[in-house]
């Protein structure tokens, strides 16, 4: 649960859908856009959107990434044949943006607009409320032109209708009242629909029509129960370069259905150190500790379970991790490490959550042995004594449990105990 970006195509469609309701009819929003996904047939797309073959176009990846222009990932002022040719070279290809390499799968095609004016508009959440940023000098150079940006603070308990927007707009601007009304409407849309960040940079203006050329936003996904109806069946895509594996998707699905929290991110499937850790904070410390001890490259996953998950949920979670970690045997003579860790729980029943993990460990006994896995346990909290005893008992079954510790043993020492084996 956090602020999450959505695809530009979805964001623009949503804005267009609610434009009249929130902003009114004074200024019109141009909403032509066609999405290209891995399944899109480009000829069919042209039939569905006849303007594609009639207008000059822009095409760019729509994959939650910045600096597309800098990486040659925008094609401007092209006809549809040009777009198709360009897409032919880019679709399904790996590109590197910054430190991240990923496959280009989603694109957005829009009309090419050559406008006289390009404006900047953003709304951003902060602790006291929201800040509205506006400038008549929008575009990629907005950072350099930051002096031109007007900032309007809207305190969280204020009514936007009572906030003076009009007089704060630049003096060289032709129709302040009209734009003030648009900004207020947009703000209401932003607040009602659970946005935490909305930036249109730039939007071009021709007469009374606005063209949002580039739009970035983040929604607060906890607002789903208030704004979900307006969102429709919106999908929060993984950030560029992070294609969710089926296992990650599976755990994500469990997490969404559950009142508890279940998270899994594969960092390096070939890594030899696997964490099966309880607690949002504790899991970060375990990750830090593995890295501090010089094993960042061997760390296979980030993950956590918390909020008193059911036995079934911990079973499914553990099974997924064990399956992943036993797919490829380590080199002869090397070990893999499973750290079943966690802090001292406040209210999670440790023995109960361990029942699910133990069931999975029993099922994977042979594979754990084959993969030379060594298991280290540290946990505290309600009923931890019973949980640890159950873990101890697994030794008798030949499950490679090495050490089992309670809350008196420091949380991070268990990682050191495990990795000491490497030296």
């Amino acid at each position: 649960m956090a602020q999450k970006p959505i695809r530009e195509h979805n964001a623009k469609n949503m804005l267009a859908k609610f434009w009249v309701e929130y902003v009114g009819e004074g200024l019109v929003l141009s909403s032509k856009g066609a999405q290209v996904t891995p399944d899109t047939d480009l000829d069919q797309l042209a039939k569905d959107h006849p303007w594609l073959t009639k207008e000059k176009l822009v095409v760019k990846p729509d994959m939650i990434m910045g600096k597309r222009g800098k990486h040659g990932l925008i094609l401007l002022d092209a006809d549809y044949d040009g777009v198709k040719k360009w897409l032919g070279k880019k679709r399904g290809k790996d590109v590197t943006v910054g430190d991240v390499t990923g496959e280009l799968t989603h694109f957005l095609i829009e009309p090419f607009v050559n406008a006289d004016h390009e404006y900047y508009l953003a709304i951003k959440s902060n602790r006291e409320g929201d800040s509205i940023y506006f400038s008549t000098k929008g575009g990629v150079d907005i950072e350099e032109n930051w002096d031109s940006v007007t900032t309007i603070e809207v305190p969280i308990l204020a009514n936007i209708d009572d906030v003076d927007v009009e007089s704060k707009l630049p003096a060289d601007f032709d129709d302040n009242a009209k734009y003030a009304q648009m900004i207020k409407g947009l703000f209401k849309y932003y607040a009602d629909l659970g946005y935490a960040f909305l930036e249109i940079n730039p939007f071009a203006v021709a007469g009374d029509t606005l063209y949002p050329l580039d739009l970035k936003c983040r929604l607060d996904d906890t607002a789903h129960f208030e704004a979900g109806k307006k969102w429709g069946d919106l999908v929060f895509p993984a950030p560029f370069g992070r294609k969710l594996s089926p296992e990650e998707k599976y755990i994500h699905g469990l997490d969404e259905k559950s009142g508890a929290s279940l998270k899994l991110t594969i960092l390096n499937a070939k890594g030899r150190v696997w964490n099966l850790v309880a607690g949002g904070g504790a899991s970060v410390i375990y990750t830090d500790t593995v890295a501090d001890l010089g094993f960042a490259k061997e760390l296979a996953n980030y993950g956590e379970y918390s909020g008193n998950p059911s036995t079934d949920e911990t079973y499914e979670y553990a099974k997924t991790v064990l399956d992943l970690m036993t797919r490829e045997k380590p080199q002869e003579g090397r070990h893999k490490y499973l750290i079943i860790g966690g802090g001292i729980a406040n209210f999670t029943d440790v023995a109960k959550t361990f029942i699910g993990i133990i069931k999975a460990l029993k099922e994977f006994k042979d594979k754990l042995v084959e993969n030379n896995v060594l298991i280290y346990v540290r946990r505290g909290g309600p009923n931890y004594q019973a949980g640890l005893k159950d873990m101890e008992d697994l030794k008798k079954l030949g499950i490679p449990i090495q050490e089992v510790h309670g809350p008196a043993y420091s949380m991070t020492k268990i990682v050191a105990s495990a990795l000491a084996h490497e030296n």
Binding site: V100, R127, A196, S283, A296
Partner: protein, 623 residues
């Protein structure tokens, strides 16, 4: 009693009284257990708000039970408990916002802890703004809460009693901490509780992006509180809230030692976009990284370890230095009172045992799935054993073969109703028309079932079984009964006769003859019928008799001994089939009357013979 005046830097003390919003029984018991081992004089939970129920909640206070008042609204609760100044809000992520907003309108509340995770950020910000305006301290959302060691704890903070004792939280120390994470706060309790004189106070801010209060809010309270010797801060990746502490350190506003660490230092090793467990745990700028924060804290004068692994050592070193300088004292040796172990836990851990007062051998819903005589409810449907099969399991503890199940279902259908005139239906109708509800009317009809109405099912079985088993011939049997001067149960019909047979009996007989593995009792009864109908045409085996006798064959057919069969008959099993079947019809009549809106039934005078004496005997003498 009103709230006692406290300095602003004190949120909780050993007299703090709270209202718990939400019926969180475990958390409430946990708070009371904590009060008890801290040797508080009064429970820290003064009252509970439960929108769906009012009354009292009974829970333990040490070895004995006490009751805590429960109200439907916060207004009522606070009106009746003027000494409450803390609210522990367990409302869900949907209702946490409105309940907290309302709560801030009650000036007596100084502190509100919000436990729910998943409150929209915009809502949290509104809470923050109103709290500033109303001067209310908010802890949370998305937190376990906080603790004032030796005095008060919020909800589930610090976990179970054994942990509280191991971490020495039952007495007041002098080290105060503030942590972002609620889970890690318990780790801090252990670290501080075992390396210093103990925790004075600890607050978990919660993992959201906009928590109600920030590190600086609590650290400035700790700085102002003379009972606190040092401060521990545990921050994390994401946000910039730690920098307010950096600023205060630089400006010399914090004079007490601060041991600080921000977790998430490993994030830099991984590709962008890993969202850690907490909503706010993501670095969008260099300043939000833990490395940057740890460095800034260190440069501003905080004591910062090399990693979390050394955090406990740094805390110990710092405290020991304070002791050496005379600024802190070594731990006191207060011992906590013992709280009796919970019955549930003692049972679970085989520490105690107790004889049961109840026994059940037919059904069990205490496991994963309801079962009837060992057959899971899902299997009941998987194998389609039907109502007959279920009766077999619950009444006979047997899986009836298909012919047995089918026969029982036939019996239920055949006995379901017999028109409105029979006494059962009549009584039910009269009761229904008197405006009684379904169950009262049904019972009114049911109570007529007995020796004269419907009782012949049991009666016939009781007469025929011993007769046949003892080897009496049908003739001897008829003669034997005649000598007793009673009727043969199950024989005789008011209208039907040999020439005009009861179709119900015909159907049942046919089924038994064709499907039962043996039907000796029925054969015997039919021989008896030959004898009786020779005397009079309507002395036929009637439907009650036929059911009773065929049920003897059914039980023999599934392998019950004669003794077991007799026992079942004496227990009333056969009559039970009649009761079960007929209740269907009676309910039909009751519903029928209600739909017809039939008015109160009154029997007409002209249908009653009034035959009273002029005066009762002895009237003149005794009046």
């Amino acid at each position: 009693m009103m709230v006692q005046e406290k300095p602003d830097y004190v949120l909780f003390d050993e007299n703090t009284r709270s209202v718990v919003f939400g019926y969180q029984q475990n958390a409430i018991q946990g708070m009371l257990n904590y009060d008890f081992i801290c040797q508080r004089k009064t429970p820290s939970v003064a009252c509970i708000v439960n929108p769906t129920r009012e009354g009292f909640h009974v829970c333990f206070w040490g070895p004995r039970e006490i009751s805590i008042p429960m109200y439907r609204t916060l207004e009522k609760a606070l009106e009746n408990h003027k000494d409450v100044d803390v609210m522990v809000n367990f409302a869900s992520m949907r209702s946490a916002f409105p309940t907290t907003l309302d709560a801030m309108d009650f000036p007596q509340l100084r502190t509100i802890a919000i436990i729910a995770e998943g409150i929209p950020e915009r809502r949290s910000k509104m809470i923050v703004a109103k709290a500033l305006e109303k001067k209310v301290t908010i802890i949370g959302p998305a937190t376990v809460g906080g603790i004032r060691a030796g005095a008060f704890k919020i909800g589930n903070t610090a976990g179970t009693l054994d942990n509280i004792i191991e971490s020495n939280l039952f007495r007041t120390g002098s080290v105060a901490y503030v942590s972002k994470s609620g889970g890690l706060s318990n780790e801090l309790n252990m670290i501080i509780g075992t390396n210093t004189d103990g925790v004075y106070e600890g607050v978990a801010l919660g993992g959201d992006r906009y928590p109600g209060t920030l590190f600086i809010d609590h650290i400035m309270r700790y700085e102002a509180n003379p009972d606190i010797s040092m401060i521990v801060l545990l921050g994390e990746i994401g946000g910039k809230d730690e920098y307010e502490v950096v600023e205060a350190l630089r400006a010399g506003k914090i004079t007490k030692p601060v041991v600080a660490w921000c977790i998430g230092t490993s994030a830099k090793m991984f590709p962008s976009g890993v969202q850690f467990g907490h909503a706010g745990a993501r670095a969008d700028a260099a300043m939000e990284t833990p490395d940057y924060k740890n460095k800034a804290l260190k440069e501003a004068g905080a004591i910062v370890p090399g990693s979390f692994n050394d955090f406990d050592d740094k805390i110990k070193e710092t405290f020991d230095k304070l002791v050496a300088e005379g600024k802190a004292k070594p731990p006191s040796d207060v011992k906590p009172p013992v709280i009796p172990i919970d019955y549930k836990i003692a049972m679970r851990d085989d520490i105690i045992r107790k004889p049961t007062t109840f026994m059940c051998t037919i059904s069990d819903e205490s496991g994963d799935e309801l079962s009837y005589a060992g057959v899971k409810i899902s299997e009941v449907f998987e194998h389609g054993i039907g109502i007959g099969g279920v009766i077999g399991l619950l009444w006979f503890k047997r899986v009836l073969p298909p012919w047995g199940r089918q026969f029982i279902e036939m019996v239920i259908q055949v006995t379901a109703d017999h028109g409105p005139a029979v006494s059962g239906a009549h009584n039910a109708i009269v009761a229904s028309r008197a405006g009684k509800d379904l169950i009262s009317s049904l019972v009114s009809g049911m109570l007529t079932i007995g020796p004269r109405f419907g009782g012949a099912v049991d009666g016939s079985a009781q007469m025929f079984q011993p007769a046949k088993d003892s080897g009496m011939t049908p003739e001897e049997f008829v003669l034997h009964i005649k000598k007793k001067n009673v009727n043969i149960q199950g024989i005789g019909h008011r209208i039907k006769s040999v020439t005009d047979p009861d179709i119900r009996v015909t159907l049942l007989k046919k089924f038994v003859m064709e499907n039962f593995p043996s039907h000796e009792y029925l054969d015997y009864a039919l021989e008896v019928e030959k004898v009786t109908t020779a005397k009079r045409n309507n002395l036929i085996l009637n439907v009650d008799g036929c059911i009773g006798i065929c049920m003897l064959d059914l039980q023999a057919g599934i392998g019950l001994t004669k003794e077991e069969i007799k026992n079942n008959v004496d227990l009333g099993v056969l009559n039970g089939l009649f009761i079960l079947g007929r209740s269907i019809g009676m309910m039909g009549h009751i519903l029928d009357q209600k739909r017809l809106k039939a008015s109160l039934y009154r029997h007409p005078w002209d249908d009653i013979l009034f035959d009273l004496p002029e005066r009762p005997p002895g009237w003149e003498e005794n009046k």
